[in-house]
């Protein structure tokens, strides 16, 4: 009797669970049909959530390369089957552990998007608690999204254009505590110690990209203190819903591998993609298809005028130190150096003779200088630790808590400078002996900044030009020719003084015109030119530099198909007014026996900025050897754009 009842109960239970499964299947089928009717698989927001890109001809491929990110075996290339499989996965009753997540939590942004679109019935599709996500969210406690933009550094090919990341500002915390906010950073994942290999592989896509979440103070230390890059922080106006979506999607993306390409699918592009998910209806990343330069992506983000709440400037350790030094008189500056180099002790009369207020500033600057010098490899820290601490102790004995005034905020931010692409049109005349020829010139440079271009928003003394094409129409023989093509043209001119002792350098490579072969005809030659030297600022706006250059030319008509040259170059750069830059330089390159040529190059260039994105450029050059010199004058109108 009891046994019959028991078996009956079992039967009943089994049929219930079977029935539940059937109900689930029915509801899943219903949802899939609904999704199909609503064409959700083709919806822009779905495509963004799974990071699908349209292929060249047809179909889609996701930028994400982690198979675990997809629910369907063909999810990487099939938005529809991925959507179906995602819906099916939401019925899973997997319990969350430290290692495993329920699919609803693993894909929490997708879940909430689909729930909203398909109006999930929680009695048929129970919602998971996702405690790990909730805890993570609570710890980060997001209130505001801030875009962080550290400037580029010219001494690293991988960070020339700057970098962007997000900071999530904590709810109810004052601005003075932003260091402890968390940041969302997208970067290529690599242990490659060689910077050149690393840059190359970054360009061709040899590394996966990945999001990480780390405290902002780690990033500030890296960019501000170690690499001496100024930072702009853009506090954005996002709605709470947008912030929540951004956090949900970040949760999905952390530890997911992306295809990383230095020029397009880089940090800045991925932040746009993240913002597009957070703000349905926006397509910021769609505005970039070949390359995404951080300053351009920032400008695009800020195009919507309402989005910027406030921009905050965070100067680097070097910028702050420079500012402090500039606020000391020359006697005080000497004391700073003497203290830092341990030439005088703290009880030195001259130090003690300073007023308390001034002494406090001198001691602190000496400390900062030791920290700076160490970050540049100037000191072994262990040798200066005691001295550093003693400087702070001496500063500490002075009761006043006054400090230096903050570094003034620059008028022009990194995103407000000229556009990074340049198009130029103009004309000029060349003269060799008595023969004069006129030409019309067209120039196109995709990126980024020339020393003479309007400097506002760019790092002083840093030039980075990529793929600078020059075409000329010669009016004599009525032909259009590629005149020159500078593939890479980088200058780093940093002034030296008693505190800062950088080395200036340049690397230029591309196709240039040189007189080789018979008739000293100027022919297209592949050239690599590099130089190292010193730059001194006579004033803030007038710099002179001296370099030793080396040049290698490659051409099939050269005796050994190559020629090598060396020689000095000397130059001057003068910022006459904020929009008017002038450049004078001369170089002498003596070639080896194969070419037996001493080639000189004198030039004067002026750039007059008419507006942020237009400029007039006047160039006069004389170059050649003793017997065959080419004189040239030209004027171009330059237009900058993104």
């Amino acid at each position: 009797m009891f046994r019959k009842l028991f078996v009956g109960c079992l039967y009943l239970l089994a049929s219930f669970s079977l029935q539940a499964e059937v109900t689930q299947q029915v509801y899943l089928d219903y949802l899939v049909t609904q999704a199909k009717n609503l064409k959700l698989a083709e919806h822009k927001e779905w495509l963004n959530l799974v990071h699908y890109q349209t292929n060249l001809f047809s179909g889609y491929t996701s930028e994400i390369i982690s198979q675990e990110f997809f629910n369907a075996p063909d999810g990487m290339t099939n938005p529809e089957s991925e959507l179906k499989a995602t819906l099916a996965s939401f019925f899973s009753d997997i319990k969350e552990t430290e290692k495993v997540q329920n699919p609803q939590c693993r894909h929490i942004a997708r879940y909430h998007w689909l729930k909203n679109k398909l109006k999930f019935d929680s009695s048929k599709l129970p919602e998971q608690a996702c405690k790990r996500f909730q805890k993570w969210y609570k710890t980060i406690s997001p209130e505001r999204l801030t875009l962080i933009f550290p400037a580029g550094t010219d001494n690293s090919p991988s960070s020339m254009f700057g970098h962007t990341l997000f900071r999530i500002d904590k709810k109810g915390k004052p601005e003075s505590t932003r260091l402890s906010s968390y940041s969302i950073n997208f970067a290529a994942e690599t242990d490659e110690p060689n910077g050149v290999v690393f840059a190359f592989k970054g360009i061709v896509g040899g590394y996966p990209g990945r999001y990480s979440i780390i405290p902002y103070y780690e990033k500030v230390r890296q960019y501000n203190d170690m690499e001496h890059r100024d930072i702009w922080e853009y506090q954005l106006n996002l709605t709470p819903e947008e912030i929540t979506r951004l956090m949900q999607h970040s949760w999905e993306l952390v530890q997911t591998d992306f295809a990383y390409y230095f020029f397009l699918e880089n940090c800045s592009y991925q932040l746009l993609a993240l913002l597009d998910v957070a703000r349905p209806g926006h397509d910021l990343k769609g505005q970039f298809s070949v390359w995404a330069i951080p300053s351009d992506t920032v400008a695009v983000m800020l195009e919507d005028e309402k989005i910027l709440h406030k921009a905050v400037y965070r100067p680097s350790a070097r910028t702050k130190l420079r500012h402090q030094i500039n606020n000391l008189d020359s006697h005080e500056q000497d004391l700073v150096q003497a203290l830092a180099y341990d030439e005088i002790t703290l009880d030195n009369e001259a130090v003690q003779a300073l007023s308390e207020e001034r002494r406090a500033l001198v001691l602190l600057t000496a400390y900062d200088y030791l920290v700076y010098a160490h970050s540049r490899g100037g000191f072994q820290r262990k040798d200066t630790l005691k001295r550093s601490l003693n400087l702070l102790r001496a500063r500490n004995k002075i009761p006043s808590t006054t400090n230096f005034e903050p570094v003034p905020t620059p008028d022009i931010r990194f995103d407000q400078g000229h556009g990074t692409s340049r198009f130029a049109i103009g004309g000029g005349q060349t003269k060799r002996g008595e023969a004069e020829r006129s030409f019309t010139e067209l120039k196109f440079r995709p990126a980024y900044h020339n020393l003479l271009d309007n400097q506002a928003g760019y790092t002083q003394g840093a030039q980075i030009n990529f793929f600078d094409f020059t075409f000329r129409y010669d009016e004599e023989d009525e032909a259009v020719r590629l005149h020159e093509w500078m593939i890479i043209d980088i200058y780093s001119l940093s002034p030296r003084d008693s505190f800062f002792k950088p080395v200036s350098w340049k690397v230029q490579t591309g196709l240039v015109r040189r007189p080789i072969g018979e008739n000293y005809e100027n022919r297209l030659v592949y050239s690599v030119n590099t130089g190292f030297g010193l730059n001194y600022g006579l004033t803030n706006d007038l710099h002179t530099f001296f370099m030793l250059d080396m040049t290698v030319l490659l051409h099939k008509d050269l005796p050994n198909e190559a020629a090598v040259a060396a020689g000095p170059s000397l130059g001057m750069m003068w910022r006459v007014t904020s929009g008017w830059n002038m450049w004078l330089s001369g170089s002498v390159q003596h070639y080896d026996d194969s070419l037996d040529l001493t080639y000189v190059d004198y030039r004067m260039e002026q750039n007059i900025a008419l507006t942020t994105n237009t400029a007039l450029r006047l160039v006069a050059t004389e170059k050649g050897d003793r017997d065959h010199s080419d004189k040239e004058v030209k004027a171009t109108f330059n237009w900058f754009f993104k």
Binding site: F186, P215, S375, R376, R395
Partner: protein, 160 residues
């Protein structure tokens, strides 16, 4: 650079077990910003990052444990982690009596805004007792700070 970040993270994560080791990686005065320099050009080629940076581990590593080993400050996990990474900046700010690093530390320790001025005063007045030597580690700094606060009428409550 990456090495430094890693050692900082590792230092923060494994500080508990490191307490027995003679060297507290990533916690010493001057060990953070200063370990490994980026002097020459080639070095900084590898060190710098434009979205090409190393192996930062996922997650909120700080907040799991600080460098502290003394009971006095164990409850300030986020503060410990912050101190572990910013021991030099906090020293600079404490010697002056103000600054962003000190503000952030105060916040991480849960100091109420009404008590902040006092916290700054006490930190400045006891700088020598907090940064006892150039070999001091961040956990020692936190312990010393805790002791100094325990002796102050207003701040003692935070160390209870």
């Amino acid at each position: 650079m990456k090495k430094i970040i890693l050692s900082a993270l590792v230092g923060v994560m494994y500080a508990g077990s490191a307490s027995a080791a003679p060297n507290n990686v990533g916690c010493g005065w001057g060990s953070m910003i200063f370990e490994g320099s980026s002097g020459t050009m080639m070095q900084s080629l590898a060190a710098s990052t434009n979205g090409i940076s190393g192996n930062q581990t996922f997650g909120i590593t700080s907040g799991t444990a600080g460098c502290a080993k003394d009971g006095v400050v164990q409850k300030y996990a986020a503060a410990d982690a912050f101190m572990g990474a910013n021991i030099d900046k906090v020293a600079r700010d404490m010697s002056v009596g103000q600054g962003e690093a000190l503000e952030t530390l105060a916040d991480a320790m849960g100091i109420k805004s009404a008590d902040k001025a006092r916290f700054f005063e006490v930190a400045k007045a006891n700088f020598d007792a907090i940064y006892t030597s150039s070999n001091v580690t961040s956990d020692e700094v936190m312990v010393n700070l805790g002791k100094v606060m325990a002796n102050d009428n207003k701040l003692a409550a935070y160390t209870a």
